[in-house]
C-alpha cells in the first residue's frame, strides 16, 4: 500500500477525533455558564465565587476535548511503523474512538458543574464541600473517556507492520467503534448522578459523605457498560488473529 494512503487515513482520523471531541465539552461548558448566570442573578453578592466555580468546572470539562486534541496532534505528526491496510484502519479507528469517547463525558461533566454554580449561589456556606464533590464527580465521570484514551493509545502505538489479513483490519476498526460508542452513554449518565449529588449536598450538608459514596457507587455501576465495551475492544485487538 502506498504511504500516502496511510497519511491520508491519519488526516481523516485526526479530523474525526477533534470534530467529534469538540461537541460534548462545548455543550457541557454551556450548561455551566448558563447556571452561573442564573446563580449570579439570584445572589449578586456571590458573583466572584460563582465565577471562580464556573471557571474551575469548565476547565475540568475541557479535559475531554484536550484528550481529543492530543490524539489528533499525535495522529497528524506521528511517523507510522506499518504500511498496510491494518495500519490505515487503525488510524481512522483511533480518531473515531477518542472523538466519540470525549462526547459523552463532555456533556456529562456539565451537569455537576452547573449544579455547583447554582447551589453555591443558594447556599454559600458549603462552598468547600461543593467544590470537592464537583471535582470528584467530574473526575469519575471522565472514566469512560479515559478508557477511550487508553484504547486510542493502544491503537496508535501497536505494531501492525506484519498483519496483512482483512479480518485483522476489520477487528482493529471495530475495536475503536466499540469503545467509542460505549463511552457515550456512561459519560452522560455519570454526569447526571454527580449533578444530583452536588445539589443534594447543597440542600443537606451533613449528609455529604453518604451522598458522595452513593454517587460513586452509582457512577461505578453506570460505567460498567463502558467496561464491557473496553473488554470487547481489547478482545478484538489481542485475541483475533
Amino acid at each position: 500500500m502506498d504511504v500516502s494512503w496511510i497519511n491520508a487515513s491519519g488526516f481523516f482520523g485526526a479530523g474525526l477525533c477533534m470534530g467529534l471531541g469538540a461537541i460534548g465539552a462545548a455543550v457541557g461548558e454551556g450548561f455551566i455558564a448558563g447556571s452561573a448566570s442564573r446563580g449570579i442573578s439570584r445572589q449578586p453578592a456571590m458573583s466572584g465565587d460563582v465565577l471562580k466555580m464556573m471557571l474551575i468546572g469548565q476547565a475540568i470539562t475541557e479535559t475531554a476535548a484536550i484528550f481529543s486534541l492530543v490524539i489528533a496532534i499525535l495522529l497528524l505528526f506521528k511517523t507510522y511503523s506499518g504500511n498496510n491496510i491494518t495500519q490505515a484502519s487503525a488510524m481512522i479507528s483511533t480518531g473515531f474512538c477518542m472523538g466519540m469517547g470525549a462526547l459523552g463525558s463532555g456533556i456529562g461533566c456539565g451537569f455537576p458543574g452547573a449544579k455547583a454554580c447554582e447551589t453555591l449561589a443558594r447556599n454559600p456556606s458549603v462552598s468547600g464541600k461543593i467544590m470537592t464533590a464537583m471535582l470528584v464527580g467530574q473526575a469519575v465521570d471522565q472514566t469512560p473517556t479515559i478508557f477511550a484514551l487508553f484504547v486510542s493509545l493502544l491503537l496508535l502505538f501497536m505494531n501492525f507492520s506484519v498483519a496483512m489479513k482483512i479480518t485483522i483490519a476489520a477487528a482493529v476498526f471495530s475495536a475503536g467503534i466499540s469503545m467509542g460508542f460505549g463511552a457515550v452513554g456512561p459519560g452522560i449518565g455519570g454526569g447526571i448522578a454527580a449533578g444530583a449529588a452536588v445539589e443534594g449536598i447543597g440542600k443537606n450538608k451533613e449528609l455529604s459523605p453518604v451522598l458522595l459514596r452513593t454517587m460513586l457507587i452509582g457512577q461505578a455501576v453506570s460505567q460498567s457498560t463502558s467496561i464491557y465495551a473496553m473488554v470487547i475492544s481489547l478482545v478484538l485487538l489481542f485475541v483475533i488473529k
Binding site: 474551575i56 476547565a59 475540568i60 479535559t63 484536550i66 484528550f67 486534541l69 492530543v70 496532534i73 499525535l74 505528526f77 506521528k78 464541600k129 470537592t132 471535582l135 470528584v136 473526575a139 469519575v140 471522565q142 472514566t143 479515559i146 478508557f147 484514551l149 487508553f150 455529604s208 459523605p209 458522595l212 459514596r213 460513586l216 457507587i217 461505578a220 460505567q223 460498567s224 467496561i227 464491557y228 473496553m230 473488554v231
Partner: protein, 224 residues
C-alpha cells in the same frame, strides 16, 4: 517536533535480563523527594506557637486535608491522613515542576502514575480485608449474582487504569500541546499562558483529584 512523547532512558544487561531505567523520571522524582525531606526537616525544627512565614503558608494546607480526610472517612482515625496529604503534595510538585526550564514532569511518564495508582489500590483493598474480614470482602465480588464475579473483578482493576491514565493523560497532553503550540508560534507570547494553565492550574487540580480518588477508593472499601 521529534520530542513528542519521548522519554530519556538507558538500557543495560544484567544477569541475562534487559533492564531499562527512565533516568529523567527518576532524577526528577528524587529531586522532589529531597526537596520535600529538607522542607519537612526545616519545618519540624522551626515549628513554634507563633508561626513564621513558611509555617503560615503550610499550616492551612495541612489542616484543610486533615478536615477533608476526617469528613470523608467519618472517623477520628488519622491513619490515612498522612498518606493522602503526602500523595497530594508530592504529585502537586511533580505536576508543576515542568514550569522550571530544563525540568520535566515525572508524571509525564506513565510508570509514575501507574505506580501510585497500584499503591493506592493495594492499600485500599488491604484496608478493606482488614476491616471487613476476608469472607465478607470476597462475597462482595459475587454481588448481585455470582455470574458477575469476573466483571466485578475487571471493574476493580479498571479503577487502576482510570486513576493513572487520568493523571498521565492530563500531564502528557499538556506537555504535547505546549510543545506543538510553542513550535507553531515560534515561542512567542502564548507559551507562558499555556504553562500557567496546564502546569499550575491543571496540575494542582489533577494532583488533588488523584489524592481524593485514592481516599475515596479507601473509603468505599472500609465503609459499608
Amino acid at each position: 517536533m521529534e520530542e513528542i512523547g519521548k522519554i530519556v532512558k538507558i538500557t543495560f544487561h544484567l544477569f541475562g535480563y534487559n533492564i531499562t531505567v527512565n533516568t529523567e523520571t527518576i532524577i526528577m522524582s528524587w529531586i522532589i523527594m529531597a526537596f520535600l525531606m529538607i522542607l519537612s526537616l526545616i519545618l519540624y525544627k522551626k515549628a513554634s506557637l507563633i508561626p513564621n512565614t513558611l509555617q503560615t503558608i503550610i499550616e492551612p494546607l495541612i489542616e484543610g486535608f486533615d478536615k477533608l480526610v476526617k469528613d470523608t472517612l467519618e472517623t477520628d482515625d488519622r491513619k490515612y491522613y498522612a498518606l493522602i496529604t503526602a500523595l497530594f503534595i508530592f504529585l502537586f510538585l511533580c505536576n508543576i515542576i515542568g514550569i522550571i526550564p530544563g525540568c520535566e514532569e515525572p508524571t509525564k511518564d506513565l510508570n509514575t502514575p501507574l505506580g501510585y495508582g497500584i499503591m493506592g489500590f493495594v492499600i485500599a483493598h488491604y484496608s478493606g480485608i482488614k476491616v471487613k474480614g476476608l469472607k465478607k470482602y470476597l462475597s462482595e465480588y459475587l454481588q448481585p449474582f455470582f455470574i458477575m464475579a469476573p466483571l466485578n473483578l475487571i471493574g476493580e482493576l479498571a479503577k487502576i487504569v482510570s486513576i493513572s491514565f487520568r493523571l498521565f493523560g492530563n500531564i502528557m497532553g499538556g506537555s504535547i500541546i505546549i510543545i506543538v503550540v510553542s513550535h507553531l508560534v515560534h515561542n512567542l507570547v502564548l507559551p507562558p499562558f499555556l504553562y500557567a494553565f496546564f502546569g499550575l492550574f491543571d496540575g494542582t487540580i489533577q494532583a488533588f483529584v488523584f489524592a481524593m480518588l485514592t481516599l475515596v477508593y479507601i473509603t468505599l472499601q472500609v465503609k459499608e
